[in-house]
């Protein structure tokens, strides 16, 4: 028995927003007479922190402090459409809708301030809750004063609405040609593992992860996505399966424990880096990070297992039984001329019977053909 160490690498890309687009988000914003900003968005915060990130976007786009903005995303009577919190679209697509609404709210504040100050709106700017004249920062009124004047003196409302959508595209039937996503994010992951070659147990000791997120609107929340994604990726690589004898239905785990999820004790050392290559369309340059955060670990871990003990486990999860089986069988790829054929026993050709394949009017194309 020996503990063997190995290291593996993987690089991935992931789209922002729904594949083929067509997933709208909308937002609207009003400013209370005391200058407080209320943002309305149909986005669901599933814990990733969209309420926080969207508040940050609105605050900066308007030019008011973060703590003077409320985020209202609690019902469909008050909040406009968000297609949903999925497809890594919250920061980018909902965020863009909020940014547009905030931009228009800012324009309204500038218009009203311009009348109050008798200064051309182009000569005004808003920052830290004050509307000031370019180059003469002492000539200013507060957003609160502008909002109060709009309400009580001019009898007007300060509000803005916005929407954003990457329009729907249909892929070409023959070639698939189309531009299916609003942006692409990238990541690389290096996994270090220890494999016990007697028990087949794999322990991930360290994950080094680099994500290009365009712009980290809230670095700690980005880090939260990367840390949470790392452990989820570790789970799908090594622990989790809904059907332990897939495709058979037996022995499904009805609870935590019988269904193995990563716990605190599985946590490896993590080193996380975010690269910022601002996206030209995303809000303040941001693009997706949430979903991709569990995609790079499993191939890196499987490569590390190979590096450690010389076997490829290509059915996930790589639980001890599979690692031991792979070690016992130590399958080598079949070589046939130029062809190097791995996993032949798993392929469609090996399972689907030859006579059936010949009879059918149509069949799955074999990759080797």
């Amino acid at each position: 028995m020996a503990l063997r160490r190995g290291r593996g690498i993987a690089t991935i890309e992931y789209p922002t927003g729904m594949n083929q687009g067509g997933d709208p988000s909308q937002a609207w914003i009003k400013v209370k007479p005391d200058g407080h900003v209320d943002v309305f968005s149909g986005t669901v915060d599933v814990g990733q922190g969209s309420k926080t990130v969207h508040t940050q976007i609105a605050a900066d786009m308007i030019g008011v402090p973060y703590d003077t903005v409320t985020m209202n995303n609690f019902d469909t009577d008050t909040s406009p459409v968000s297609f949903g919190t999925f497809a890594s679209r919250g920061t980018f697509i909902d965020g863009n809708a909020i940014a547009v609404a905030a931009y228009r709210t800012r324009q309204r504040l500038l218009e009203v301030a311009s009348r109050m100050m008798e200064v051309d709106p182009e000569d005004l700017e808003i920052a830290d809750g004050d509307v000031a004249v370019h180059g003469a920062p002492e000539r200013k009124v507060s957003v609160a004063e502008v909002a109060a004047t709009a309400s009580w003196t001019y009898g007007e409302m300060i509000a803005g609405s916005g929407a954003w959508m990457f329009p729907h595209v249909e892929p070409d039937k023959e070639t698939g040609e189309c531009e299916p996503h609003a942006a692409i994010s990238y990541a690389s992951c290096v996994a270090d593992v220890e494999v016990d070659d007697e028990t087949g147990e794999v322990r991930v000791t360290k994950l080094v992860q680099v994500y290009d997120v365009g712009r980290a609107i809230n670095p700690t929340l980005v880090e939260g996505q990367i840390q949470g994604g790392a452990v989820m990726g570790l789970g799908l690589a090594l622990l989790e399966e809904s059907y332990p004898y897939y495709p058979e239905l037996s022995h499904r785990g009805p609870e935590f424990g019988a269904y193995a999820v990563p716990g605190m004790a599985d946590l490896p050392e993590l080193k996380n880096v975010a690269l910022e290559d601002p996206d030209p369309v995303g809000p303040f340059g941001a693009k997706a990070v949430g979903e991709m955060a569990n995609n790079a670990q499993s191939p890196a871990i499987v490569a590390a297992i190979h590096d450690a003990v010389g076997v490829w486990v290509t059915e996930l999860p790589a639980r001890p039984e599979r690692v031991l089986r792979a070690l016992d069988e130590s399958r080598q790829p079949r070589r046939d001329g130029r062809r190097v054929i791995y996993d032949e026993h798993l392929a469609v050709a090996a399972v689907s019977t030859a006579e059936n394949r010949a009879e059918g009017a149509w069949r799955f194309p074999l990759v080797s053909e």
Partner: protein, 470 residues
Amino acid sequence: MKAVGASLPRYDGIDHVTARSRFVDDFSLPGMLWAKAFRSPVASARIVRLDTTRAEAMPGVHAVITHADVPNNVVGHQEVWGIAPDEPLLAEHEVRFVGQLIAVVAAETEAEALDAVQAIELELEERIPFLDVRNAWDAGQPQVTPDGNVFFYYPDQPQRQIRKGNVSEAFAAADVIVEGVYRPGAIEQAPAEPAAALAIPEPNGRVTIHSTSQALYYSMDITARHLRMPMGMLKFVGGTVGGGFGGKIDTKTEPITAVLALKTQRPVKWRHTREEEMLCSTTRAAWHVEIADAVTHDGWILGRKTLTLHDAGAYMMTSAYACSKHAFHLAGAYSIPAVAFNTFVVMTNHVPTAAMRGFGVTSASFAVETHMNRIAQVIGMDPWELRLKNANRVGDSSPSRVVYGNPSTVSTLLAAAEAADVELPPDERAMTNAKRSGALLPAHLVEQQREPVTHPLVWRDNHPALEGGV
């Protein structure tokens, strides 16, 4: 002070740490009933007899609903994309997976509802389930749907396919052809908070639904279609959810509680047990991916052919979407000039599969990246070098011919090498994401190059969405 770029406190941080954040199950109302589900014990069967009479007479029971109580029982999660509806909210003449909803009870207490569920009588004619996606076209297999076991994207073409470049030439020119099979398994989204809904009939005929949905409008649309009610008659309340990871797109608790609330004119709450989450609600799909790559001795990938079988489970849910998305990402973060990808949605008698974090691409990333590592082993090349050479760069084009404007495969790789103390040779360390030229532009990559789309936009000042008025 700028908010963007700062690690500002979580908007809901104090609510969370003082246990004041309100999740759906934390709301209760006077007179509220509890729902419990009666589900299929088998993976495939014809329903011979379903009798809820005894259950209806049990203590505390206010209603037992079956498919006949749902105004529009069969709805699809992808109707918005033109995919025909196929999912009964409550089973009609057959069941197609273990745990499929057949009937739901609303009673004064959760315990009374559970007792009543156990009094429901069901007679089944069991069938052999179809489980292995690899047998989907074989003669004599059980048929999951009346239309067979394979979904058709087009009337005459079942697969989503991607074609680019001359694949036969690429394979003819290859020094080595590397083939492999990748099978990531089905897993649970397993958010800490189980799915729950609380439907409240309002005096004006509207229904308010507290929902754990990840997508309030999307779930409201599905619920409105089940109820045959305009969306204006519904009000979804939510937005604070105890984790989703894709599992809370499956919209079942909302229409079920709404039907019960309308029938009983009482508020009705239903919260999934953990068993229901694990065994009966959607999972991430199991995938079967075969890859064959045409490779040169010096580490260029000339072409790639793939076959993907996506295990959709018993109903379509969002599988057609997932399998399409998967197809666009089978080249990974690399520039491969000739590809032929075939991806199929295969119906089985597993629990319907749906979204989970990385939807459709997690499987592609695992397959592609493991295959890359194998190629490196076969040709005896360092896996970093193989990746850095083939990494997509500005002006390269994707399998669906998207021209990469700002790819960062090379920069994430180099940053990862540095962070992991991997010593790369100087020529690799000097690589960038910039447009290919010289040794990095071999003949086979010339034709796929395009003029990179230049984005002259400065985001804040002239964003296209900002044109026009309110």
